[in-house]
């Protein structure tokens, strides 16, 4: 960044709110995308580096910086908790990275309506703890909860491990305040539903910071459930498990947690637990009022028996629950020289799920890529599948190349089977080309909206649209 711009920025927002230190710039130019882990062994500094880190504490400061960026064509990237897995915060063309951490207050807790209004920089785990102190919970538990910010969860359209009952962030987000690149603020309505033309709120959910800066959000909260029960089952085959959970959900049973692991991933889990079992593991959790929970369990039993699922106790579910934020299995593979792993999270309808799964698995086998898979977000019409892959190559650069190739090829298969390329991690730098394929003319519409809202293309430059 030019010296005169630095001076002007300091003049506008004050020295205490901006850092040009190389250490800050290095940290705030990365997230936990596996390729950025590989960079540690390849480069001294991340290949994409912001010029400074701006930590605003007032809305006026954000507005002033947006004005400055527009005037000087300086890119601005929003950083929430740095927990993204697709490179959404990489400052592809440098510029200013804005860290929202000082926007971390609960603005309002409406216990009667079951609503909390919170600033966007608050870390999810922190909010959940604060709510628990008041007897409430979000029931939104993404694996990144301990590090992701509320703004980041909205910007990437996150989903939590209890999604089968409570839905994704879009289902608990009631409204938001967002600052557009021109400095104007849109505050969407805070009522349960509106019929007031196109839903503006939805435009910003999953927009990955390209349309505006989320300032605060109003979320739906509930009282901490009275009862929580885990149940685990052994399915002879993965498809038996798929049939059972489809029937269960379509019958109106609402377990918040449904996790069906394929044979490969089940084997790993059983081995870890010292159990000698073969087949697919299904973990269910039921929660709420005791009598409702008992009724749901009774109905589930009928369906599971019909599909020849064997009940194997509560313990496995409880162990999963205790370790539910642990990503060690995937992440530690990246430590190996030439090793890289990731989770591809796609979504697909029931009618296409078996064929899609079959083709992706045969792709991994053909390419001799170690893999595992599970279903953990279930809907009436379909589900999300996680394909976890582990690549081992000769060098870090080869690993990165193979990583992108694997992503692209699996997403191509997904599109062929009418699936979506991303269920909840977002697009970032990994899936941008595939997004064009999935959305068709819709992609041009997104580009047009971007041009209208952000004509100077300052916000999260190069992400989602060119």
């Amino acid at each position: 960044m030019e010296e005169k711009n630095k001076k002007q920025l300091i003049h506008i927002i004050g020295e205490d709110n901006i850092s040009f230190n190389i250490e800050d710039r290095m940290v705030y130019s990365r997230d936990i995308t596996p390729v950025s882990y590989k960079w540690l062994n390849i480069y001294n500094k991340p290949p994409y580096l912001c010029d400074c880190v701006f930590r605003p504490s007032t809305i006026e400061q954000i507005r002033d910086v947006l004005k400055f960026c527009n005037k000087n064509s300086i890119p601005l990237t929003v950083y929430g908790g740095g927990s993204g897995t697709v490179g959404g915060v990489f400052p592809l063309e440098g510029g200013i990275t804005i860290d929202m951490i000082r926007f971390n207050r609960i603005l309002n807790l409406d216990k009667e309506s079951g609503l909390v209004t919170v600033e966007s920089g608050m870390i999810g785990d922190r909010l959940e703890k604060e709510l628990n102190f008041e007897g409430f919970t979000m029931r939104h538990f993404p694996q990144s909860l301990k590090s992701a910010s509320i703004g980041g969860l909205i910007a990437t359209k996150s989903v939590g491990q209890f999604s089968t009952k409570y839905g994704g962030i879009e289902n608990i987000l009631i409204s938001l305040d967002i600052m557009l690149p021109n400095g104007r603020i849109i505050s969407t309505t805070k009522t349960p539903r509106t019929s007031t033309g196109p839903d503006l709120k939805s435009l910003f959910i999953g927009s990955e910071g390209i349309f505006g800066i989320i300032l605060n959000a109003t979320l739906k909260i509930i009282r901490i459930p009275e009862k929580i029960v885990f149940r685990s089952y052994l399915c002879k085959g993965f498809y038996d498990g798929i049939n059972a959970i489809r029937e269960m959900i379509q019958a109106g049973i609402q377990p918040p947690v449904v996790r069906l692991y394929n044979k490969e991933e089940s084997e790993l889990k059983f081995k870890k637990l010292g159990l000698n079992k073969i087949g697919s593991l299904l973990i269910l959790c039921f929660e709420g009022k005791e009598r409702i929970v008992n009724a749901e369990i009774a109905e589930t039993e009928i369906i599971n028996k019909k599909n020849k699922l064997e009940y194997i106790g509560e313990e496995i579910g409880k162990i999963w629950f205790e370790h539910r934020y642990d990503t060690k299995g995937i992440m530690e593979y990246n430590r190996m020289k030439g090793g890289i792993s990731d989770a591809i999270e796609i979504s697909v309808n029931w009618a296409d799920i078996n064929e899609l799964y079959k083709e992706v698995i045969s792709y991994f086998k053909k390419k001799q890529i170690k893999f595992a898979a599970h279903l953990s977000h279930i809907y009436q019409t379909g589900a999300s599948i996680y394909f976890i892959f582990y690549i081992k190559s000769n060098s870090e650069n080869d690993a990165i190349e193979l990583f992108y190739k694997t992503w692209d090829e699996v997403l191509e298969i997904t599109l062929r089977h009418n699936g979506s390329i991303s269920h909840h991690h977002g697009i970032g730098i990994i899936k941008k080309e595939m997004l064009k394929k999935e959305t068709g003319y819709g992609y041009e519409l997104i580009s047009s909206i971007k041009n209208l809202i952000d004509p100077n293309k300052i916000l999260n430059k190069g992400k989602i649209v060119d």
Binding site: Y37, L40, A148
Partner: protein, 386 residues
């Protein structure tokens, strides 16, 4: 790297797998600063660059390396089981202390200078604990070591413990001369002085024939129990935290406690108290220590006098004093604790960390704050027997 601190089997600081930051939700430095650079995962990142010589040592980088409070909660929570984070932090600081002292944060150097001048971190010239009134038994195998905070800022706490011990006919002695345990030197990276202090303490223990060294300060306990060995000093006594010691004593006096409800019920002002208990992080995986403190409070519940309602972590030690506990930061942290305790309708916050107690007393309002020993004395209605 310092010869005493090298252990080939230890995990390297750069062994971070960049998980979803289990360290983030437990790191007090991050909690206070909101700066991702201070997170263990990013300190690890800088350390790996530092080791390879790929990053220039700047004042800001040194500040990052000194931001850790050494509370060890990241080690407890690490999904990759990295148990050597703090050890490696000390190694880096040792390097910096030797080669880049001019870049070390002022507040760290001030404490080191205070220690060099006066032997205590406050540079206090006061007399400390008045031992004349205490019934010390020079032949006792139980020897207490209080540390700077109690000696110079909270001597009343030791008077409380001596009352409790006196009431229960437990003999004890006190090391009152070895002014600093050495922990602040260690956390500052001055390994040479820390080692010298450890040797001084070892001699003091030897001189009074102590078998059990009872510690009052969580950081001092961690330092003497875990770090002295790494510095090559065998302290020559069993190191016990005072809550463990008290819990044992209480078990022996169980009849007396069971008899209390009747006695206490005569007090019309008595009501069951909701206790908000603050754990200290420095015990690493020795969960039995916080458990023994909780057992004491639960024991009081049996007297119909106290209800243990919640627990929370509070992170203080000499590392904390050295680094992030500047007055504004402490205020912020204390406010957080007060907010949580009030939202749970607590009557009293009880802590086992003297430094935590000191700051809570200084910056909190609207809620009672007690060190565990004083709370125990008050609840058991042990009279002053000076």
């Amino acid at each position: 790297m310092d010869k005493y601190l090298i252990n080939e089997n230890e995990q390297s600081l750069d062994e971070c797998i960049y998980c979803h930051s289990f360290c983030k939700s437990s790191c007090p430095s991050f909690d206070i600063s909101g700066n991702d650079c201070f997170l263990p995962r990013n300190i690890s990142y800088f350390y790996s660059l530092f080791k390879k010589g790929d990053i220039e040592i700047t004042e800001n980088l040194v500040k990052i390396f000194y931001s850790c409070t050494a509370c060890s909660l990241c080690e407890i929570n690490c999904v990759y089981d990295n148990k050597d984070f703090i050890n490696n932090i000390i190694k880096i600081r040792s390097e910096i202390f030797k080669k880049h002292r001019d870049l070390i944060p002022e507040e760290v150097l001030e404490i080191v200078n205070n220690l060099n001048k006066s032997g205590n971190i406050f540079c206090s010239t006061g007399a400390g604990i008045d031992v004349k009134h205490l019934k010390l038994d020079k032949s006792s195998e139980n020897v207490f070591f209080t540390g700077c905070i109690i000696k110079y800022k909270l001597p009343g706490l030791f008077e409380d413990i001596s009352r409790f011990l006196g009431e229960n006919n437990i003999k004890f002695n006190l090391i009152n001369d070895a002014l600093c345990c050495g922990a602040p030197y260690l956390f500052a990276g001055d390994i040479e002085s820390a080692t010298r202090k450890a040797i001084g303490l070892k001699d003091a223990i030897k001189n009074c024939n102590a078998k059990n060294l009872v510690m009052f300060c969580p950081a001092g306990y961690d330092y003497i129990k875990n770090w002295c060995k790494k510095l090559g000093v065998d302290i020559g006594a069993r190191v016990i935290f005072y809550t463990d010691f008290l819990n044992d004593a209480l078990k022996k006096t169980v009849k007396k406690i069971n008899a209390l409800p009747e006695q206490l019920s005569r007090d019309p002002a008595l009501k069951i108290k909701n206790v908000f208990f603050l754990e200290a992080g420095e015990f690493r995986n020795e969960i039995q220590i916080n458990k023994s403190a909780k057992d004491i409070i639960l024991g009081l519940k049996n007297t119909g006098n106290s209800e243990f309602i919640s627990e929370n972590n509070f992170y203080t030690n000499c590392g904390g004093v050295l680094n992030c506990f500047k007055s504004e930061d402490i205020k912020k942290y204390v406010n957080d604790i007060i907010y949580k305790s009030k939202s749970l309708k607590s009557d009293v916050i009880v802590t086992v960390s003297p430094i935590c107690y000191y700051y809570l007393k200084e910056y909190s309002s609207g809620i009672e704050v007690k060190e565990l020993i004083s709370y125990l004395i008050e609840q058991l209605k042990i009279n002053d027997n000076k």
